[in-house]
């Protein structure tokens, strides 16, 4: 089976190799059809946390997008639930560009029609709100958690489970994680087991969309060959 190469962009500066590659490893586990190369933007160790830092990050993301295209990757994932620079990148290159936020919220709609978003701290990312529209029934976040490190503690995890349960009580059928930091600590299966509804991980969702974007094109070629 053919392997595809995916360029994955982390929107914060990460020195640690293992951490840099974490999202890529998660995708490769779920989709062994994909080989993921990870790169990160420079000089933003705190990543994107407001409009100013998003604007600062955009040209750096777009530079990596061009770089990945020159290197010949098959598709690009921007591994952030806010989809920073995704629309701009699509205009810049001809290969598929997938945002983790749009991928997760889009895929959630294939599983149910009452979607809840579990955020880390802040607001639900705008792209997720716009994709879900009226299908967004609830938004919540773990109390007193300020970063993913908090979520790795026992109390942080308990708060996340409580927040997910609140979403379910408000009628949520499918939960979207509103931050790829929650992918890093692999909290989706824990929440799913504790709460009993599907939890869509944005990094795995991006991998699924990447595979669809490449296979959907190849499938027809094969079928037409078989006919001829």
């Amino acid at each position: 089976m053919k392997k595809y190469t995916i360029g994955l962009i982390r929107v914060l500066t990460i020195q640690d190799e293992e951490l840099l590659n974490r999202h890529g490893k998660i995708i490769e586990k779920a989709f062994p059809e994909l080989k993921v190369i990870s790169r990160c933007i420079e000089n933003q160790p705190k990543g994107i946390y407001d409009e100013k830092t998003e604007e600062e990050a955009k040209p750096k993301i777009l530079r990596l997008v061009k770089e990945f295209e020159s290197d010949g990757v098959d598709a690009i994932i921007i591994s952030c639930a806010a989809d920073p620079a995704v629309e701009e990148a699509r205009k810049l290159v001809s290969i598929p560009v997938i945002g983790a936020g749009s991928a997760a919220s889009a895929l959630a709609l294939a599983y149910g029609r009452k979607i809840g978003v579990l955020n880390l701290t802040e607001e639900t990312p705008r792209v997720i709100k716009e994709i879900l529209g009226k299908n967004l029934v609830a938004e919540d976040h773990p109390n007193e958690v300020t970063n993913t490190l908090d979520l790795m503690t026992d109390w942080g995890r308990e708060e996340a489970i409580r927040a997910a349960k609140r979403l379910k009580e408000k009628g949520t059928e499918v939960i979207v994680l509103g931050c790829t930091g929650m992918s890093t600590i692999m909290i989706a299966p824990i929440l799913e087991e504790e709460v009993g509804i599907s939890v869509i991980d944005p990094v795995i969702a991006a991998g699924a969309v990447a595979l669809h974007s490449l296979r959907r094109v190849e499938a027809w070629g094969d079928l037409n060959e078989n006919k001829g």
Copy 2:
């Protein structure tokens, strides 16, 4: 690589084995990870074309859903863009149930935010309208085409291309095919080549979501084993 078994339900009565299996073959070509078993509902050679025939089909679809679950398939696809009985089926069984209409419209949102729907003849299916919400920017259909046989003629294909071009002129960035009959005749790649924007085939989209639904669960198990 592990193969998953998918039960696929055609919502019209088909005697011809090759035709019955066509959607399944398309999915297997795109996703060799999936083995597809196709079954169809009985006594509805014209399928679903209004509310009455949809109500008539629902209990038959649900019977096949139960049957597939007893047979031990990993997931079920209801291969119709109107998602008939999908919500009811989800309450009935514990394996993933995927509708071609919700899968296609959901996935389209992972590629762009201005979605157009190309229908065969009728209205855009309600489930597609509800998933796309404000992201639905245009709907159209080929003039004078009344069934998929028309679409296979030269004039029918020309009309389909014209309709797709009209969608693009209205600002559509991604086209969703509003009928799985258009998958049967494999028109997506033709439209994509002629019009120059992505065309989401509902049958292939359902296959992609089916694979995501199974892999997303397995991925975590593997990762946790590696940690332990």
